[in-house]
Symmetry: C2
Subunit: 325 residues, 2 copies
DNA sequence: GGGCGAACTGTTACCGGTAACTTTCTTGTG
DNA sequence: CACAAGAAAGTTACCGGTAACAGTTCGCCC
């Protein structure tokens, strides 16, 4: 009779138990460290595991424990560097907490299907990152699962503070006609930043424009609609880049004729021509905070130690200068 | 006696079976569609599922089927947009094939631990994306699992062809001292591109430099070591940006004094000052190809229909110009 | 109307772990 | 040295599905 060993399956806890001449439960206990083993058995188990190259099956463990240690991060297309870094921060935090982060991206027309997929998974929680109105709305119809959104709804203190810093900087340079190029209307974070701008720039002669997206292309398009400001503040660095380009095409130079400020401090910002004055965000920290909020809902008894407060710093580079008479 | 319903568990197929008054196996069959149900039972099952809001547990399914439909994409930090887009392409392809893509990133000093984590997962395969020598070496010690690497080892035809296009373009413009700024030495793809460059530029007076990373900062640093070329070809757009900046700091302007060419055509490239001449890659397609290779090893009987060939296109913008006498 | 496949449906075992409970050592103590 | 208590190990059931096989039911034909 031929053994039916077509696929040499991975060793299981039972295999280990047999080799170590203990019960499978003892092996399980060894693995979990829940209760101590007698040195003799402990050693045999260790040797057996080594010998067989045994690795526990996460799947079986999850099924048995009835808990899922997976969190889904739901985000739009990962084209923006900021988002990517943020997701990265979330992942780190998740892993540190023993969770697996499953990043799912959706296209606008794909959202429904993506959400359905999530519904089918055994996920502990969902973290909506790219928070557009569309996503929020769609997500509301999802089963009453856990769900936390990253980007804050109300202008967080640090965002407002950063915009105040930008305002002070521009006023110091003598600017008095400032246009804000906001991110897409249907993004919560775009509106948050816009509100922060408006709060910081009250009293000044300011105007606002909306970009269609977060990309340089959108910024470029918005830049063409610019009237005649002395300074432009943008919702992110890419938009600032596009605006700068549009300005150049009209023969207006940055910073000689117009000052431009970005937001995010993407890694390339310091190397733009001219290097971009912008606000640095610690995305990784933002991500950690976001995951923390998920964790707090997932594990109510998680220690409440607060994470370090996020701070956004104005980085002055070459794209802002004294207003020319 | 109090029912111990602390956590209202999610409904299982047994719950569905009870409500629908069929056996759990019938429900399972309904779900898998393996064999037809009598209209009457089918309808009862459907109603029961609806009513209970039942969702199958992927975990249990995986355990029972003994197969994992998860592929891990292993990559370095997701800071480069190109990589992100590539991962995105992989994900799409994976999802289309019914797989879940688990993106894991590693830090240089974290690699060991990351690989260990993978070993503990039930993963069908691993796709190494950011392929550095370090990763390859470390991965070699991993259990003899599936592993495919994205970036090709030998200069793929399209890479060589693209560099030829760059060469033709620069020669046409009269350039004769061309420096190549390569990506980091220990990246396979950096070497691949370098080799493609050398093949395309044989005969010309060319020099090479290595950047320490793929970032604009690395490019900037490398740019300072530039001697006096008439044109610079870079391993990616970020490096090109940094090089351009370094050149500007030395008072050499692009493209008037020096021409600069990038690679990848990142979304921002068209908005740089000057807009960057570069090579466009279809990252999503590259990703799809990569996943395809994984799939072929995972499911030997996967239809072998070839994916559309990748093509890299030279995009001429404002950073290259006729060599000034 | 009985016989017979084919089409459904039910039963039971199993995937690889964990949890709860029971049994079998070890100890320490009187 | 017997015995109880505690420590270590073993047993059994269960997590939520699937697979294989056994049992019904149904339609069709003679």
């Amino acid at each position: 009779m031929v053994r039916k060993d077509r696929v040499p399956r991975a060793p299981t806890i039972y295999d280990v138990a047999r080799v170590a001449e203990v019960s499978h439960q003892t092996v399980s206990r060894y693995l979990s460290g829940a209760s101590p083993l007698r040195p003799a058995s402990r050693e045999r188990v260790e040797r057996a595991i080594q010998e067989l190259g045994y690795r526990p099956s996460l799947t079986a463990r999850m099924l048995a424990r009835g808990e899922s240690r997976t969190v889904v991060a739901l985000t739009g297309e990962l084209l923006e560097v900021g988002t990517v870094q943020l997701v990265e921060g979330v992942r780190r935090a998740a892993r540190a907490a023993g969770y697996l982060l499953d990043v799912m991206t959706y296209d606008a027309d794909d959202l429904e299907r993506t959400l359905t997929t999530i519904g089918r998974q055994d996920v502990a929680g969902v973290l909506a990152i790219a928070d557009t109105d569309q996503l929020r709305e769609a997500v509301g119809r999802l089963s009453p699962d856990l769900l936390v959104t990253v980007t804050e709804d109300t202008p967080a203190a640090h965002t407002v503070e950063a915009h105040h810093a930008v305002a002070r900087h521009l006023i110091e340079l003598g600017h008095d006609r400032v246009t804000y190029v906001a991110g897409p209307r249907d993004w919560c974070s775009a509106r948050t930043r816009l509100r922060a701008f408006e709060e910081a720039f009250t009293g000044l002669d300011s105007e606002r424009l909306f970009a269609a997206g977060w990309s340089a292309a959108s910024g470029h398009e918005a830049g063409r609609r610019l009237r005649n400001p002395t300074a432009v503040v943008c919702a992110n660095d890419q938009i600032a880049l596009g605006v700068t380009r549009a300005l150049a095409e009209r023969g207006r130079h940055v910073p000689a004729d117009v000052s431009v400020v970005g937001y995010d401090d993407m890694p390339e910002a310091a190397y733009f021509s001219p290097p971009l004055t912008t606000v640095r965000q610690d995305f990784a920290l933002h991500g950690a905070h976001a995951f923390r909020r998920v964790l707090e809902r997932l594990e109510p008894d998680v220690p409440r130690e607060p994470l370090p407060a996020v701070e956004d710093h104005l980085i002055v580079r070459g794209s802002t200068a004294v207003r020319r008479a």
